[in-house]
């Protein structure tokens, strides 16, 4: 073993363009063998970029600009041959859809071994061993696209483990996973940590579940500068204010006040805004939704939860007439959904997609906001006032003439909601809108939603985040195998352990802590 540290950064900066302000700004730190580091920072603070810089892909791959040095075990990373450093530092990326190049699990794992020129005779043994390590032995001959998100991430991890790296970087590996898959993945990493000497860096927005595995926390600010570097306890206890200011989720255990239902529901009307009657939906021969019935009341916040593939998005698409049910019907404001005039329907309802970019259709933020009003032939002076007000509310005034695609992640999210609000809709549907967003953006979005709720808008919201459900939802609908497994108050779900397990859900932090505490009292 050499005495040089695993990795050492000296005044390292990186930018995509030579003129631009750097994404990573004058970073100096040392990473030692056996470190388990939680790397945090708001969106756009350069965390993912740093990961790619560490394993030598950047700046070369994109012709970026860097200054300062990175040393791996005392050797400057520029002195490594192409592909050599990648083997020492493995990365698992966020998106399960875009990190494979082969069709079958076995072939994907073989791809790594082929790159390392491992003799063919050793491949089968190595592949079998790594599949055992990630508990995916039965999936060796399966096609990758048939696997669930959680299974895909395990295969991505296995492919990286085959390189026997000294440092494993996990770049938001659980962001796309349902709650239970996410916990399973983290447990798997914990086991690896016990059985190997690998150092680990985890990049994550929501650190709660990772904390027990981490012995160090590094926080970057929006300018890509190192703000904090300490044990997690110190970072979150002594610098809680700073962490929050940077737009980072403070782990729940350091949050003193866990609020519950900040706004009691104002559901007073007994007249539903939308009712879904015995609706079924088939895609080709596969039955996606079976016999779904429920009502949505004015001013109500309903969360739809369930594992990936349970039919959540399909349900939302049916409710907005983007799909037609195979059986059953939907009524909106006392009229069958199919009898609504398209223009009128779109005015009264809104739909916010997971990827805000999908909703953009014009070249500037201002045009984007006024698009609907122009279509509805509103007089110009009316919509100017409305547009300016929306720009103001959503903090987009400074970006009035920017191209929507050039906005930051949070700005895009806000704009995508703003475009739905030129008139206060009766019903707003959200398909995982907080997915991959930092604390700041999520909080802002929830504030906007609460305001709408006050005005009487009904909100239907798909999410994997049980803390959001616990805090904001009046009602939760659990979809499992295409059926409604539960429709009631969140509290009912938290009490139903069997259903939680079956639908691959978990309790919110508030409840989990209670359980830990009560167990602690008994002992």
């Amino acid at each position: 073993m050499s005495f040089s540290p695993l990795l050492e950064l000296k005044d390292y900066s990186f930018s995509y363009e030579s003129q631009e302000k750097p994404i990573i700004n004058n970073l100096s730190c040392t990473i030692h063998d056996g470190d388990s580091i939680l790397l945090m920072g708001a969106s756009g603070s350069g965390k993912s970029t740093l990961a790619l810089c560490l394993n030598g892909l950047y700046p070369e791959a994109i012709e970026g600009y860097s200054s300062g040095d990175i040393y791996f075990r005392g050797t400057n990373i520029n002195d490594f041959k192409k592909g050599e450093l990648n083997q020492k530092i493995g990365i698992v990326f966020q998106d399960p859809e875009s990190q494979f190049c082969m069709l079958k699990v076995e072939d994907e794992l073989a791809f790594t071994l082929e790159n390392l020129s491992v003799p063919r005779s050793e491949m089968v043994r190595k592949i079998d061993r790594v599949l055992d390590q990630v508990k995916m032995t039965n999936y060796k001959n399966r096609k990758i696209h048939e696997l669930s998100g959680g299974q895909k991430q395990k295969i991505a991890l296995a492919a990286v483990l085959l390189m026997e790296p000294d440092l494993l970087i996990l770049d938001e590996p659980t962001a796309n996973l349902d709650p239970v898959s996410s916990l399973e993945f983290i447990a798997l990493v914990g086991e690896l940590q016990d059985n190997t000497e690998m150092s680990i860096i985890v990049i994550e927005h929501q650190a709660d579940d990772w904390l027990h595995l981490m012995n160090r926390c590094i926080v970057l600010d929006q300018k890509g500068q190192l703000m904090l570097d300490d044990v997690p306890d110190h970072v979150f206890n002594q610098h809680a204010e700073l962490v929050k200011e940077l737009g980072i989720f403070l782990p729940n255990q350091y949050e003193n006040t866990v609020e519950q239902n900040p706004l009691p529901s104002i559901v007073s009307s007994t007249h539903p805004c939308m009712s879904v009657n015995q609706m079924s939906f088939k895609r080709k021969k596969d039955s996606i939704l079976k016999n779904i019935s429920f009502n949505v009341y004015p001013g109500e916040f309903i969360s739809i939860v369930g594992q990936n593939g349970a039919g959540k998005s399909t349900l939302l698409q049916l409710m907005s007439r983007l799909l037609q049910p195979s059986e059953g019907s939907v009524t909106f404001l006392n009229r069958p959904l199919n009898e609504w005039d398209e223009r009128e329907l779109r005015k009264r309802t809104g739909f916010v997609f997971q990827n805000p970019e999908h909703q953009f259709i014009t070249d500037t933020v201002y045009d984007e906001i006024t698009f609907g009003m122009k279509l509805n032939e509103k007089p110009e002076k009316d919509f100017k006032a409305v547009a300016n007000e929306l720009l103001e509310t959503f903090h987009l005034t400074h970006h009035k003439w920017s191209n929507p695609f050039a906005l930051s992640g949070g700005q895009k999210r806000r704009l995508s909601v703003a475009t739905m609000l030129d008139e206060t809709p009766d019903l707003l549907l959200f398909d995982e809108p907080t997915f991959g967003q930092d604390a700041h953006t999520t909080l802002e979005l929830m504030k906007i939603i609460i305001n709408l709720k006050r005005k009487g808008t009904s909100v239907v919201f798909i999410t994997h985040d049980m803390d959001l459900v616990d805090q904001y939802a009046d009602r939760v609908i659990v979809l499992n195998n295409g059926r409604i497994a539960l429709d009631g108050q969140p509290e009912e779900l938290w009490q139903n352990d069997d259903l939680l397990k079956e639908a691959r859900l978990r309790k919110p932090y508030r409840m989990e802590r209670k359980e830990v505490e009560s167990v602690g009292l008994i002992h």
Partner: protein
């Protein structure tokens, strides 16, 4: 079985007859070879007839249309012989009839050849074989494989875009100009995402030690076996027989020249 033939050899065995056949302007040569191809397809390919017809029929209709047009507009050089039909503006001579029928048969040969290849070849094996036998650079072959994985994702994304734009009311913009506008609106997010995704895949591949270098081992060694040579030889032999038969019967016509 044709599906077990080495993909690179199969490709050569399909491309050579394709090229050579395009020289034969008579009727007999493509007819003989097409008969052979159909026999191979039905008895040795394992492709279900229904599936095969699903591709063959629409493509053949297109070929027939092409042949019909070329029959009516045959170059004077070939359009000799007796007048068969002279009705209104339709003029068909024995010469032009021969050109038309020959073109139709040749097109059907091309279609049958393509289907014989496409319906029996596994894309992964094709790429691995092209890398191992034809020495194509790994950068290219693995790039194509990674891209192939994206096709279904692309369709899913287009569906989502359509829905998102419908919500915004875009479908209400009318006319051809509106349609072009709509296409433009799909293109930008689709391209932006495609670029982002391909960058991510490239990063993931390089992070797994991929450098594009040819020095790599192979998990699936794709070899050229005796059967592959047998397949190639029989395809070429069948082609030679088709030409020979047509020659002995006195029909052979290459580029308008009879032998």
């Amino acid at each position: 079985m044709v599906s077990s033939i080495n993909p690179s050899v199969k490709m050569i065995a399909v491309v050579i007859p394709g090229l050579v056949l395009s020289l034969a302007f008579d009727v007999v040569t493509p007819l003989v070879f097409l008969t052979f191809l159909l026999l191979v397809t039905f008895f040795f390919s394992g492709v279900r007839l229904k599936k095969w017809l699903m591709f063959f029929i629409p493509l053949s209709l297109f070929a027939l249309g092409l042949a019909w047009t070329s029959m009516l507009h045959t170059d004077e050089k070939y359009a000799g012989g007796d007048m068969l039909v002279n009705f209104w503006w339709i003029e068909i001579t024995t010469g032009s009839l021969q050109v038309g029928v020959s073109l139709a048969l040749r097109s059907m040969c091309f279609i049958a050849l393509t289907l014989l290849f496409a319906l029996t070849t596994d894309p992964t094996k094709l790429m691995l074989s092209m890398m191992q036998q034809l020495k194509l650079p790994p950068k290219l072959t693995y790039g194509i494989l990674a891209g192939y994985r994206f096709l279904p994702l692309f369709k899913h994304e287009l569906d989502l875009l359509r829905q998102a734009h419908q919500i915004r009311g875009v479908s209400r913009t009318k006319g051809i100009k509106g349609r072009i506008e709509r296409l433009k609106r799909y293109m930008i997010p689709l391209l932006a995402n495609a670029i982002r995704k391909s960058e991510r895949v490239a990063n993931a591949m390089e992070s797994k030690g991929f450098t594009g270098s040819r020095q790599r081992t192979h998990y699936h060694e794709i070899k050229v076996k005796k059967n592959d040579w047998v397949f190639l030889t029989s395809m070429i032999t069948a082609l030679a027989i088709a030409f020979y038969l047509s020659y002995t019967l006195g029909y052979l016509n290459i580029f308008g020249k009879t032998f």
